[in-house]
Symmetry: C2
Subunit: 794 residues, 2 copies
């Protein structure tokens, strides 16, 4: 029996990799996926056990989760058509439809509003905490108390980092990392436990603030996307049932489709809030996050991000009056390049091509190294919360040493006579940090290291500053950021990848710009922008959204063709090496992500080749005891219902019944002594469609909540009113590739496979997400070559 | 029998409305759609004839088209899985896949290249022709020879307009109008005859140049989208077969899926070339044009538009050296607002809200009036080419009278002392046209009327010119443009709607800006931008793409939140009145466009309710005569194949065979004397998969091309190797709404409906696009209320 207390043991165990010891031995093998799916309780339990690592507790199928395996549940976007549904639609009043629309748009607005507020709060907090820390250190530096300055700086960082790791490790391990892979998987139809829970939201917000303030080489952008998705999920569920904050009006949203739409809006709002890029947010949601898209959704995400933009603009306007402490102008990055004019000639173009190629290589390498490192970290992280905190603090110390130590390698530069800014900088952020240099001089490397990441990017992008940085300083900075970016991501702290990649890319671009300085007219600031684009293209593999985000960040439209060109080149090059970084993390976390295109070998397999029996099916009027036993024995979520004589004249597939619906029906106890169909009105009177609404993962009625007496076990229940009478079906001879097109396009959870010959049983099996996973298929058919997918062919 | 000669009679008859006399009596009624579908030869012929306006020629089913009905064919995106396909995949070499990928990207690049070139050529020609005309007239005006000036001006316009109308009416009537609705319909799966033919491309390019040069209130943007799509189609078909310019390598693209992708890229390239807005082009293709979308397509369209951007930039750079005649800086609109700063306060925001609301009302009214007028015009246009030309010339004369006459109403204004430009203007385009005024004065209204539309927009958007126009001048201009925009669209000339709408909207915005001038800080140029946004939102109902296009046009990112706000408001308001203008035209042209969401009443109907018998099906080994007779009798494009004893032990649905495949098979003449299945190798040896590739509409093998002797008619043919053994099926009890989700999501042409009870025949009927059309359903069930779709509910 599951209770609240031992639940913690089953929680997802870290942001990096969660499958514990499986990782090295069998990363993408069938065993791992099997155990995931098994616990995720899809229709896979009766298959031949390929690798059975943990014993199954047969009395409860919901959360029997191994220490390092977190439960996954497939989402179901199919329209369930049963008597109840039809009844519900017939009786639905116009006023309810209006209510639904009003609610939907209100929720969409609220998502924008809240995400905008959180985004602003996040920045405000970071600017103030990090600003205070930097001012304190600068003060001590000015007094030449270097050792004390270092200890203050490193101490602050370690305390912030430790706190972030602690809340993350103890309260919500799911909040570690970027969150974009999880949101992406959710929008693909995979719900991982507690990934969008209120506790995750809490840790994501505060962990991100602490993490960024701690001076790590990480960003707040990924976490903002996750935050937006959490907010959307919370709103869609009508608040938290735990805290008795639910609202009946939100019953319309108790299904996976409406929730998916809200969460898509949430992820768009997150990007919009993180970058102040409303159009970029819409495109991000479209290009990277969402797996299904409709024109109507474009319109809704656009509305959400417009709200975010208005909220942010209002609050920043408010802060201009100086009421926000150290916030000032900064925080929400907006790099204004408008002073430099983008004119370029043929040699510049060639230089840019080369820049794109090299950027693609660096991006691919980044993904490769990140992957390797995450696998190493997961060994440490799975040992428990203290180890996570220890790792985080170690990395924090390393980062502090780099930031504080490396600037000593740079020589002092005389302040330029024509500097626009004050030199050396006296306020918190600025281009000319004094560090250890005498008055009138500045340390270029310290200017980069001793600022927040946002400010460092702003400095790198700034134009008209050709000779501000020594080439050696840029090289040192690039090496440090590139390495720190990779080793930081795996720690148990909410951490985005955008900022490290942009920072490393901008430095790389500036290096190229500085080297080419004598022979090109292009400003090094523009080279930095192109460098950032090439790195983003090389790691994230997004194109249009990154392009628009960069445009919105820099307010520089004339660079558009060049940015596009660089993105195209770097993405193409990097695609030759490996997958995009988010796809890679999705695979590594074992989330059964379903690609839009089928693998080539799936064309040679038929649907019947991957389903395997014995199939458990019910009769339309079934004995209660049979149902209970079937539910106990298996973790299936859908059962075919077949009427046989005397209920019908020949065996006939009535449809598919869902486990959750069955539990509600059994809980209602409308049982009969004999095997007879009941008048449907009986059931329809007793239940409303909203009783069958879907709760959040793990929150619905559970088998152990039912109280069935022995006498009742002998009785019968008529399932007809709740059976989905029109499940999607495919012929058993259909190729798996074609079945996948259907499965994926419609976002199904179960796909019935029917035999060609009408003489046999009316159903041959059920395909679930699991059956389309390459690991499963290659496990069944080891002779198939896992061809490297030629993506472009589809 | 169909031959090439009488084909012209069947051509699509005008750009406005093509269903002739049906229009008034029965606009959206079942009869119209019926006759369209019947001719479009979908699976609808055997249904109860609701309105049968024309007799059917039963010997040929392909182009029996009434004078005013053009043939429509549904596209088929289903993967056909038969023995041949499997054979083909098994034998496909790695080298062929690589070849395919290389070809695909080459084609994508070529589309960008050619569309960019055409876009530039278009502008170059317009600027030179219109410039020459305007200079000539100005010259005469300076000499006070006003009457001669008018006759020259009106004469030039009429000659240009007449030529445009003539080539359009005689060579390619399908080229009239915007073309966006047709492209939209094509990408939804409806291929209208000759809509993407080479002749249409030719007329679209030159007709657009002539039409724009003739001073009409119309744009080149819609035609550019159509041009891009035509170019893509032409490239995808591997050139024209008529002119023996085909290439075997392009056999991979002989299917609807690959063609759809290419044409999506083409439409994106069109927008990119028209507005110099590469990101806007991608978003336009996504939001407005495409019905299916994949992430991979985003990436490809982005590549195409990047090529367009690079081509245009290079050519404009080249023109800066003065080698392009009167082209100068102009032509490709790019309105630089960067001098004005966007700061706004609360009262400004309220003003902008009101501006959005009123803009939405005007936009909705525009659509309403346009719809009414197009119906009137179609009566004239259907009378034949001379009437079309006459109508065009009349409108041209009216436009000339307005442009030349109305400026006389405006009083002369003294040139401002601080004018940035020369005043009065001496060159072709400028803010201060002298017209009839004495030296040192200018006529504001003439400045707007006596420029190309692009220049007029640039003037309206220009900042720092608060008092350039009298309010009365703006009112006159607004009224004239709004009315001319509506009455111009229906003429037989390629004509875009973007420019009229932007022009009217910008004038409207400037009126608001001028009125509010004393109480607001916002520049009237910015108000003009917001006004244009409100009109675009109100007519086109696009959001993200219009937003990005406007940003790319004006290079002004700081206005983004305001533009978004205005678009959201005006779209919401206008959606309360009617559909977007392109959707409206699609409906009016009778194109069976399939919406992503089902109508509410479809939930109450089952799939079996709308299919109707008798169904024609074949046996797996069928007598040749039977097949020929069935093909002659019906226009069906797909036939179910049912094996009965002795071919199988029970009646069993083998699959679906396509008409086009049957024709190829019959043409191969592998007949047998007896009803026996043949070894599949026989067929597979004789045919390759590429033999069954899809040709362009109307270009494939036709029934009358077959030469079957009487003896052969008695023989049998084994269809098994070409039968699609895994067609998508739904149960007969599935609601029509749910079936539509499947049909639309997968882009099907045929959807098999199978009975619930396995005892009966194995197939109940076939659903086609036609069966989902509201006209058809409401014809069968007149008691159903055609509820106004609450779009937001889906």
């Amino acid at each position: 029996m599951e209770s609240e207390a031992p639940h913690h043991h089953f929680r997802w165990d870290g942001g990096n990799d969660t499958r514990g010891t499986d990782i090295e031995s069998n990363l993408a093998g069938p065993g791992v996926s099997m155990s995931l799916e098994r616990n995720g309780s899809d229709h896979s339990d009766l298959r031949e056990p390929l690798v059975r690592k943990r014993t199954m507790n047969t009395t409860s199928q919901i959360a029997i989760v191994g220490a390092n395996v977190y439960p996954i549940e497939s989402l179901d976007y199919e329209i369930v058509e049963n008597d109840l549904f039809k009844q519900d639609w017939r009786s639905r009043q116009k006023i309810q439809i209006v209510e639904y629309i009003v609610l939907k748009w209100t929720l969409t607005m609220l998502i924008g509003l809240l995400t905008g507020l959180v985004g602003f709060f996040n920045n405000l907090a970071v600017e103030n905490i990090a600003g205070f820390k930097l001012l304190l250190t600068s003060d001590l530096m000015l007094k030449h108390r270097y050792a004390l300055a270092f200890f203050t700086y490193a101490g602050c960082n370690m305390i912030l980092a430790g706190t972030a790791a602690a809340i993350c490790a103890y309260i919500a391990p799911a909040a570690a990392g970027s969150g974009i892979p999880e949101v992406k998987a959710y929008l693909n139809g995979v719900d991982a436990h507690s990934i969008l829970a209120p506790s995750t939201l809490f840790v994501k917000i505060f962990g991100s603030i602490l993490g960024v303030s701690a001076g790590f080489v990480l960003g707040k952008e990924g976490p903002m996307v996750h935050t937006g998705a959490c907010i959307a999920n919370l709103l869609g569920q009508g608040g938290s049932r735990k805290y008795h904050l639910t609202w009946r009006g939100l019953r319309y949203f108790k299904n996976d489709r409406d929730r998916r739409d809200l969460i898509t809006c949430g992820s768009a709002a997150g990007v919009a809030a993180a970058f102040r890029a409303p159009v970029g947010g819409v495109l991000f949601a479209l290009e990277e996050a969402a797996s299904w898209w409709r024109s109507a959704l474009l319109w809704r995400t656009f509305f959400t991000t417009a709200i975010v933009a208005v909220v942010l603009r209002g609050l920043i306007q408010f802060c201009k009056s100086g009421k926000c402490g150290l916030f000032g102008e900064g925080g929400l990055i907006m790099f204004d390049l408008s002073e430099s004019v983008a004119t370029y000639s043929m040699p510049d173009l060639i230089a840019i091509l080369v820049l794109g190629v090299v950027g693609g290589v660096f991006g691919g390498l980044f993904n490769f190294l990140l992957d390797k490192l995450l696998r190493t970290y997961s060994i440490i992280n799975e040992r428990g919360a203290p180890f996570k905190i220890l790792l985080t603090i170690t990395i924090s110390l390393l980062t502090s040493c780099c930031s504080f130590g490396l600037p000593w390698l740079a020589s002092c530069t005389k302040c330029p006579a024509d500097a626009v800014e004050q030199c050396p900088t006296v306020s918190r952020s600025g281009n000319y940090k004094n560090f250890q240099c005498p008055p009138g001089y500045y340390n270029g490397l310290a200017s980069l290291f001793f600022n927040t990441n946002d400010d460092a990017i702003r400095i790198l992008f700034s134009s008209g500053t050709q000779n501000e940085f020594h080439l050696s300083s840029l090289f040192i900075f690039f090496t440090a950021i590139y390495s720190l970016g990779i080793i930081t991501y795996g720690i148990a702290v909410p951490s985005g990848l955008f900022i490290p990649v942009i920072l490393a890319g901008a430095t790389y671009g500036r290096i190229v710009g500085t080297i080419l300085g004598p022979i090109t007219d292009l400003d090094p600031g523009l080279f930095a922008l192109l460098g950032a684009a090439s790195f983003l293209g090389g790691t994230m593999r997004m194109t249009v959204s990154v392009c628009v985000i960069l445009l919105e960040l820099t307010n520089e439209l004339l660079m558009l063709p060049l940015v596009m060109l660089v993105l195209l080149i770097s993405k193409t090059i990097a695609d030759g090496f490996n997958k995009g970084v988010y796809d890679q993390i999705v695979v590594m976390k074992g989330l059964p992500y379903m690609e839009a295109h089928a693998e080539p070998y799936m064309r040679h397999l038929a649907a019947r080749d991957v389903i395997s029996g014995p199939l458990i099916s019910f009769s339309g009027v079934e004995q209660v005891g049979n149902i209970i036993r079937a539910l106990q024995l298996t973790g299936h979520n859908g059962f075919p219902v077949v009427d046989e004589p005397p209920l019908s004249d020949t065996p006939e597939l009535v449809g598919l019944v869902l486990r959750s619906h069955l539990l509600v029906l059994l809980n209602g106890k409308r049982f009969t002594k004999d095997r007879v169909t009941q008048p449907r009105e009986n059931v329809l009177m007793r239940f409303g469609a909203s009783d069958f609404g879907k709760s959040g993962l793990g929150k619905g009625l559970k088998l152990q909540d039912l109280e069935i007496t022995d006498e009742e076990m002998e009785m019968y229940v008529d399932m007809h009113p709740i059976v989905n009478t029109s499940p999607y079906t495919v012929a058993e001879t259909m190729s798996l590739a074609k079945a996948q097109v259907l499965f994926r396009a419609l976002g199904l959870r179960h796909l019935c496979v029917v035999p060609k010959n009408p003489k046999g049983p009316p159903i041959a099996g059920i395909l679930t997400r699991h059956d389309f996973m390459p690991e499963h298929i290659l496990g069944l058919f080891p002779h198939l070559k896992p061809t490297k997918p030629l993506r472009a062919t589809t």
